[in-house]
Chain length 399, copies 2
């Protein structure tokens, strides 16, 4: 019997509590022992809860209870999640989390403490909700050098773009719709400006490369500038636009960005609809593999948290080798030399475009023209756009 | 340093040898120690091979060498793979394999011996080639009761069906094409009659349920009767036909079949093209997750074999909890009570069909009519077909 604690009784926390209770036999079978919730930490009152005796407002109750060996941190936010996690690890308890902000910001330090204390710090739920992706990335693909990751990592923005493409809604209407359906926060900045996806690609790229990829240094663009004109042009070019967390790893360097990208309809990522997530990983031996599922939601996310608790119970005596280190040299590639093809939308004439580039026009209606370029650097794309003078958008193509 | 042996130097075996050599640093980093190939077992001569000193024709060289702790069995076939694997496990060596026939047939016994000897018997490469699916199924989804598995598990048949749908080739032409491209054996029976997919769904269902699912008792149908008329009707109904390994688990019972199924275009499995595989797994907490990638091929499959070798090295002191037991009671559900919707193709008139069922006609050309039914048992479908008298095919729908 492993005694566990849950820090934070919000959506995910209550899901963790329910799964431990409702799926007890499956969990025990897989963990090799039963899990029992001994504490739930939350500053709010839950006097009507059937298990109200489990609730505490004092984190020290958990820290000082040597019987508790595994703690789920599902509070979200940086503080006090950071301080609480650190205290638990220092006290020799394994911690599992769904908190991508914390992992992306303090992951390297917390992984170091976990290693020192010979306990686990696991965070499968921080990327892709319930989709198994971090463990497959680090374990099942252990024989591969990972060369590229391209993921639809944020369900809110995928829902908005899907509504724009499928139901011809404007960005603002699709956002309002997402908010009405509970898929977007009242303050949606973290999603629509790409910050949430940025934290997740930072975690994926760190795991894939084995060294910390600094989220602050990932060029991050959201979807707020995507218009129905872009939608029309993308459809004419035989694809869709998705917000992509992108990383490539070559010669010990990592290049990463978050941006809307054009994806042809024959790429599996183009079929990820609504709030779903999909992560395409390329290894030098395995080629492309993709992981798909619900990227958020109470029970999907909670099921990944509980799976990490199960893994912590199994590995109580020997910690999991999953994580990354601080790099010894600067491993971030600023992307100045990276080339992408672009889908460009402009108000130029076909003749003006043909005079500067010989690639194909895909759309020409009511004075709006779209074409795809050869692969070029961002600087070359800016030069081309300046020459044309009437470019309205330039979207990188995921090839 | 872990010393390893490779049994069988065919396509996968030579891939295993190459990955251990070429990706040595990534492998060592993940395993916590380097892997070194000490023996390669094959009855053929490889006198020109640069590492010819590693080759042996005598399995006892490996069995009797206590330095060898991990063995990859990539010979294929039942014998002598079974005897060799048993000897290795008895000698206290971990064995990893890509041999689905062996795992589906003797897996329960070999897992029992591995448990007794406290070594690993791992077989990620036996299903889905390089796609991580068995480990995610048993570990990442450890908090879920798995309720359903539906997988495109055989690349050869998926290629044939894809060619029939995309390029309007007949079954025979598509098969000849697959053979010419090296995607199908000269004797393609194991693929096109569904036996290969049957072994794989037996392994998946055994892992998901925790008890042995007998491949011999899985109703298995291939794709040899699928015609271009079926293709036309499926397209008219808004979907495609895929060979599906199917299992559902409810109340401790497992129902499983392998059969061509109709899949609507909005289901992720419909987008799995060419020789690729995709496995859709449903858990009670996580909902649907899908795993996608190359289901065969030298390096993809070998990368899964080497990942299992890495895992064996990590877990040399404590074996992985992955496998299943003999069931105490009969857990196989014969499916008599299972209901599916059907896509039916017949030569009846719309009037004759409407007199017997009120569901929608999706196709009516040149005397061929297709319609989809409500959910019904196989027996009810037979009764309906008998009444109509002119039914040419009845394909289950994956809902």
């Amino acid at each position: 019997m492993a005694k566990v604690a849950i820090m934070g009784f919000g959506t995910v926390g209550s899901g963790v509590y329910e799964i431990i209770k409702d799926n007890a036999s499956r969990v025990a079978e897989n963990a090799g022992e039963a899990l029992e919730t001994k504490y739930i930490l939350d500053i709010r009152d839950f006097d009507d809860h059937p298990d109200k005796h489990l609730f505490t407002k004092d984190v020290n109750d958990i820290i000082n209870d040597s019987e508790v060996s595994i703690v789920a941190e599902v509070m979200g936010g940086l503080h006090p999640a950071y301080e609480f996690t650190k205290s638990m690890l220092m006290a020799g308890k394994s911690v599992v989390t769904s908190n991508k902000e914390l992992v992306a910001t303090y992951g390297t330090e917390l992984l170091g403490i976990a290693e020192e204390k010979n306990v686990n710090y696991l965070f499968e739920a921080s990327v892709g909700g319930g989709i198994p992706v971090l463990r497959p990335l680090s374990r099942c693909l252990a024989a591969n050098n990972i060369t590229r990751i391209a993921g639809i990592l944020n369900g809110t923005t995928n829902y908005i773009l899907y509504e724009m493409f499928t139901n011809n809604k404007s960005f603002n209407d699709a956002l309002a719709d997402a908010q009405a359906n509970g898929y977007a926060e009242r303050n949606p900045a973290a999603d629509i400006e790409g910050h949430d996806a940025c934290r997740k690609i930072a975690i994926l790229a760190s795991l894939a490369s084995g060294v910390e990829v600094d989220a602050e240094r990932i060029s991050t663009e959201g979807i707020v500038d995507i218009t129905l004109d872009d939608v029309k042009c993308a459809e004419a070019a035989g694809g869709v636009i998705k917000l992509i967390g992108y990383a490539d790893i070559a010669d010990g360097k990592v290049y990463s960005h978050v941006a809307p990208m054009f994806i042809k309809n024959d790429n599996m990522l183009s079929g990820i609809n609504g709030v779903f997530n999909g992560i395409l990983i390329t290894g030098d031996a395995v080629g492309d593999v993709m992981f798909y599922g619900a990227g958020a939601g109470k029970l999907p996310t909670a099921s990944a948290v509980v799976a990490d608790m199960v893994d912590s119970a199994i590995h109580s005596s020997r910690r999991k080798l999953i994580g990354w280190k601080k790099p010894e040299t600067d491993i971030m590639d600023d992307g100045a030399e990276k080339s992408f093809r672009y889908l460009i939308r402009c108000k130029n004439t076909e003749q003006e475009i043909m005079a500067l580039t010989n690639t194909g026009i895909v759309y020409n209606e009511n004075g709006t023209v779209a074409f795809t370029t050869e692969a070029m650097t961002a600087k070359e794309c800016t030069t081309l756009s300046d020459k044309l003078g009437k470019v309205e958008s330039a979207i990188r193509i995921l090839d």
